[in-house]
């Protein structure tokens, strides 16, 4: 009885807790993104500015997010990654590889926060190395896997719904044990109506530029090691109603000195688009509403009607 009451009360508290997170963002399932990243690099002779070589790196594919409750207050996240990576040297394809990885939900997201913790299993795997893994032991321990407190990553897939223009959103990671980390602050720069994969979304736009990244890296690199002449901008688009990431746009580039003889001009582009919102309640539509083509709140309203009907029928039968 005590367990039941605590399960229900924690659930209810989670639904209405501050800050304003939509409860469905903590447990995304079948959320699919199309991702494409490309990098073009040209190497030049410093003396006569002659083009020496070109190198292209193209990555395209899709990421599907899955999740499942790990324990009270924590939801385990995993992903199915299908990516095609192509590399070209001077216009000739030198490698073309396809990766299809299904990672079960083993990262722990703390509800009502943006903290994403590693789990005891992952930490042990990282310490011992993946090559020494005993699969039988690993599977037997999945059932009792727990969040590894002390180190968290800021989850980039959602933000608080109560943000406003000018607010700063943290990204990166933090080691609570050592009291240090790398935190890059993005800024909510504007709001916009965007059409992503054919669906319209009212979005908050969060921008991260090279200045914010360099500011975060300065304590680690030192002022003299910070590269100059590099331009970078990452725009993250979050649905205003749910705070969920519906897309991102990235571009950057600059000239880097390879050695005394050569300079490299790098051009980076990338984008990610939400193709399927899955179980995240975007625009107030649940997964069932969306898959059945129903208006927002329909499945919930029907549920409430069924409950009321059952109570009335039971009482009238007395």
């Amino acid at each position: 009885m005590v367990i039941m009451i605590s399960l229900i009360s924690i659930g209810t508290v989670s639904l209405y807790a501050d800050p304003g997170y939509d409860p469905s963002v903590f447990s995304p399932n079948n959320v699919i993104y199309d991702i494409a990243i490309s990098m073009h690099m040209e190497t030049y002779n410093v003396t006569n500015n002659a083009l020496l070589s070109t190198h292209d790196f193209i990555m395209a594919g899709k990421i599907t997010l899955i999740s499942k409750r790990m324990e009270l207050g924590y939801v385990a996240w995993g992903a199915i990654v299908e990516i095609n990576v192509t590399e070209k040297d001077n216009g000739t394809i030198v490698s073309n590889e396809y990766f299809n990885v299904s990672a079960p939900p083993i990262l722990a997201v703390k509800e009502n926060t943006r903290y994403m913790y590693l789990t005891e299993l992952i930490v042990e795997l990282l310490r011992e190395g993946f090559e020494n893994v005993d699969m039988e032991e690993l599977v037997s321990r999945i059932a009792t896997n727990k969040p590894y407190s002390g180190f968290y990553i800021y989850n980039p897939f959602y933000i608080d719904t109560s943000v406003n223009i000018g607010d700063r959103i943290p990204y990166g990671f933090y080691n609570e044990t050592r009291d240090e980390g790398v935190i890059v602050y993005g800024t909510v720069t504007s709001e916009k109506k965007l059409v992503i994969s054919g669906a319209p979304y009212d979005c908050w736009i969060v921008n991260i530029t090279e200045a914010e990244i360099l500011e975060a890296l300065e304590p680690l690199l030192g002022e003299e090691d910070i590269p100059e002449g590099i331009e970078f901008n990452l725009g993250l688009f979050y649905d205003k109603r749910s705070g969920w990431l519906v897309g991102l746009d990235m571009f950057g580039g600059g000239t880097i000195s390879v050695d005394e003889q050569e300079n490299a001009v790098v051009d980076l582009n990338g984008e990610m688009e939400l193709v399927n919102a899955g179980t995240v309640r975007i625009a107030d539509k649940t997964y069932i509403d969306r898959i059945l083509g129903l208006p927002a709140y329909t499945s919930l309203a029907l549920d409430i009607l069924i409950i009321i009907a059952i109570v009335i029928i039971r009482i009238r039968r007395r």
């Binding site: 659930g11 639904l15 324990e71 995993g78 299904s102 899955g278 649940t286 919930l300 029907l302 039971r314």
Partner: protein
Amino acid sequence: MTKKSFILGLFTSVIVGIPIAFIYDLIGTFVGVIVGAFVAASKKGGGAVGLLTSPLIYLSPYAIPLLVSYLQGSLDLLSIVLLIGYSLIDVFIIIIAVASLVAGIIFGWIGLRVTEGE
């Protein structure tokens, strides 16, 4: 309890619980179990409804989208077997099932009292 009310309780539990579970899994599970047990209208029936339907409702936000992806051809069979298989090895499901059994017994008994008009 009649056989009919028990079967009706099983179906009601799943139909009521799953849509709410897509918003919040724990609330969906317990609302479904409570309503199903109320319909089953007996301690035994309510307990059985709780024990049998709670894992289904609780896992539905995880398993249904995976099954839909498989049916749409965007997920291969090996991935779905691995991912759903993983979800079944979980201590938390046992905790939910036991808590639902208790909730089912209590609300089954309440359903019986309401039906009998005592």
